[in-house]
Amino acid sequence: MTLLNVERIKLFSTRSPYWCLAAIAAASLGFATLFGLVENGEAAIPYLFLRGVGLGMSIFMVLAALAVTTEYRFGTIRNTFLGVPRRPKVLLAKTALLAVLGAVVGLVAAVASYFLAKALAQRPPIPLELSTWDDWRQVVGYGAIFAIAAVIAVSVGTIVRQSAGAIAILLLWPLILESLFTLIPTVGEKVGPWLPFAASDKIVAPTTGITNLFQPSGGPDAVQGLLVFAGTGVVLWLIALLLLQKRDA
């Protein structure tokens, strides 16, 4: 608990997290507003108008990676280790704080965007109601996505120890690398949907109705997607832990 508090002080005593959180709010709510207003909300399908929250996930990964890499950039990681020489405890605290923060931010951003779009859209193609578990999943799933993305970002930040490198990896991986992979004949098509970020998308992807048209066929279902994404986080985190222990600070 003490160490979570330490990480909280460190995170919120600099400016960049506030900017990142503001950007996440702007992306999420902006996208929801657009979908709610344009064409009287005829395209207001949760999976689509919550894409802004998906963009927010990338921004949150930047925030989480910076929480590690700026410590290396400015040398404060050594002050941290001087205070807490057991490095796994430091990594655990940092990861836990950002995962919890991610869960809250993802959840709040998605729920707020949902109700904003619902309030604005006059003629949504399907009624915007949270009645079934499947309806809920497409909204609250972002909490899980953000939390796991935070774990991945903290791990990559710890492995790379350098802001530009970590951010490049975290942005290019979901946006470009995975889509390039799917271009490979036969293999790409089959394996592509199982890659971590493609799989994470299944956590909030619709499985029925007209919106299913936006989904590539095959690949994992929501639970499998969650497991693949979470598994990626765990593996990267263990690599980060190993390197953190072995390397000189």
Partner: protein, 343 residues
């Protein structure tokens, strides 16, 4: 107490610290002296558990740093004053360190007051001058009111006032019975601050001695004499088994009391025109000692006048026979006071 036992650190094929063993005693300032690149910082980082040694170990009060519970309450350190986030306030910087060791927040304000930064406690550190950052680092080192303190080149880049301030500060900490280990590449600075010296070059121990013994043995003293009867004086001095060098119109008598030189001249009825004591500078002594141990020194960088041995010799072989265990100053450890105020 700090102990290094066979401490070794290699980076690839470069040996930064080579089988280094020493002990740092409480109650006095121990200087850690060596040219740039001698391995001082690396050694300090290994003591503090930041770098892992390839061999050997470093212990603080008999324990590895990593095994310490709330280490900041036992060991305070200032290795680099620039280890701060420029957008974070001085107070937040100290606060996260304090909280990690369950040190009350009131102590943060105390140490800020102690180093004279209360007025800028909530200002972003990026705007601080080097002297202010150095003070902030010192405040961080004092947070847990530690018994053991390590400072790496604390006066580097400071103005005279700042240097005086830090020097006085360290002496006071030691006078309170704390263990103070401070590195420097300036012997003149250490001569004023340290009671004991640990000298390294190329990662190896060159000397471990009381500062005054080290300086007395390392600096060559001689007497310069001039006389119209130079040849007679020369033979008179040589007859008294003194080592005499001819230095162009004058003689240099090595390692002889000035009185003896005067007496010899008087007994022989020789007129003297000059009789001056010559003490080698601390810098010369230092260069002489570490001469070959300067990692990045070119051959031209070594003044020929010092007479340091030629380049190919391994470090340490020409070190003067300083006793490894020179008597320590008798200032016994005093109880550490509750608050860290030392001004």
């Amino acid at each position: 107490m700090i102990e290094a036992i066979g401490l070794t650190k290699r980076y690839g094929t470069t040996v930064a610290v080579d089988d280094l063993s020493f002990t740092v005693q409480p109650g006095m300032v121990t200087g850690f002296l060596g040219p740039n690149g001698a391995g001082k910082s690396t050694t300090m980082r290994m003591i503090l558990g930041l770098d892992n040694p390839n061999d050997g170990r470093a212990l603080i009060d008999g324990k590895h740093y990593a095994a310490l519970h709330h280490p900041l309450t036992l060991v305070g350190s200032l290795l680099d004053a620039n280890w701060v986030h420029p957008n974070r306030s001085a107070r937040s910087h100290l606060r996260f360190m304090a909280v990690s060791n369950k040190i009350p927040t009131r102590r943060v304000d105390e140490v800020l007051e102690l180093v004279g930064l209360s007025g800028v406690a909530r200002k972003a550190v990026g705007k601080f001058s080097l002297g202010m950052k150095q003070r902030l680092g010192l405040a961080g080192a004092l947070l847990g009111d530690p018994k053991v303190l390590l400072f790496d080149e604390p006066v580097n880049g400071l103005d005279p006032e700042g240097i005086y301030w830090i020097r006085t500060f360290m002496k006071n900490l030691a006078a309170q019975g704390r263990t103070v280990f401070v590195s420097s590449h300036l012997l003149s600075e250490m001569a004023l601050t340290a009671d004991h010296l640990i000298v390294i070059g190329r990662g190896r121990l060159i000397a471990d001695a009381a500062t005054k013994d080290f300086i007395a043995q390392a600096t060559r003293s001689s007497v310069r004499v001039r006389s119209p009867q130079l040849a007679d004086l020369h033979s008179a001095l040589v007859r008294s088994n003194l080592q005499v060098n001819d230095v162009g119109g004058a003689l240099e008598v090595v390692d002889a009391p000035i009185e003896q030189v005067g007496d010899i001249a008087g007994a022989a009825g020789i007129t003297l025109h000059e009789l001056t004591p010559q003490v080698g500078s601390l810098e010369e002594a230092f260069i002489q000692l570490t001469g070959d141990a300067v990692e990045y020194g070119g051959s031209r960088a070594r003044p020929a006048a010092v007479g340091a041995p030629g380049g190919a010799q391994p470090a340490g072989t020409f070190a003067p026979p300083l006793g490894p265990a020179s008597p320590l100053p008798t200032a016994g450890p005093a109880p550490v006071p509750q608050d860290g105020d030392s001004r």
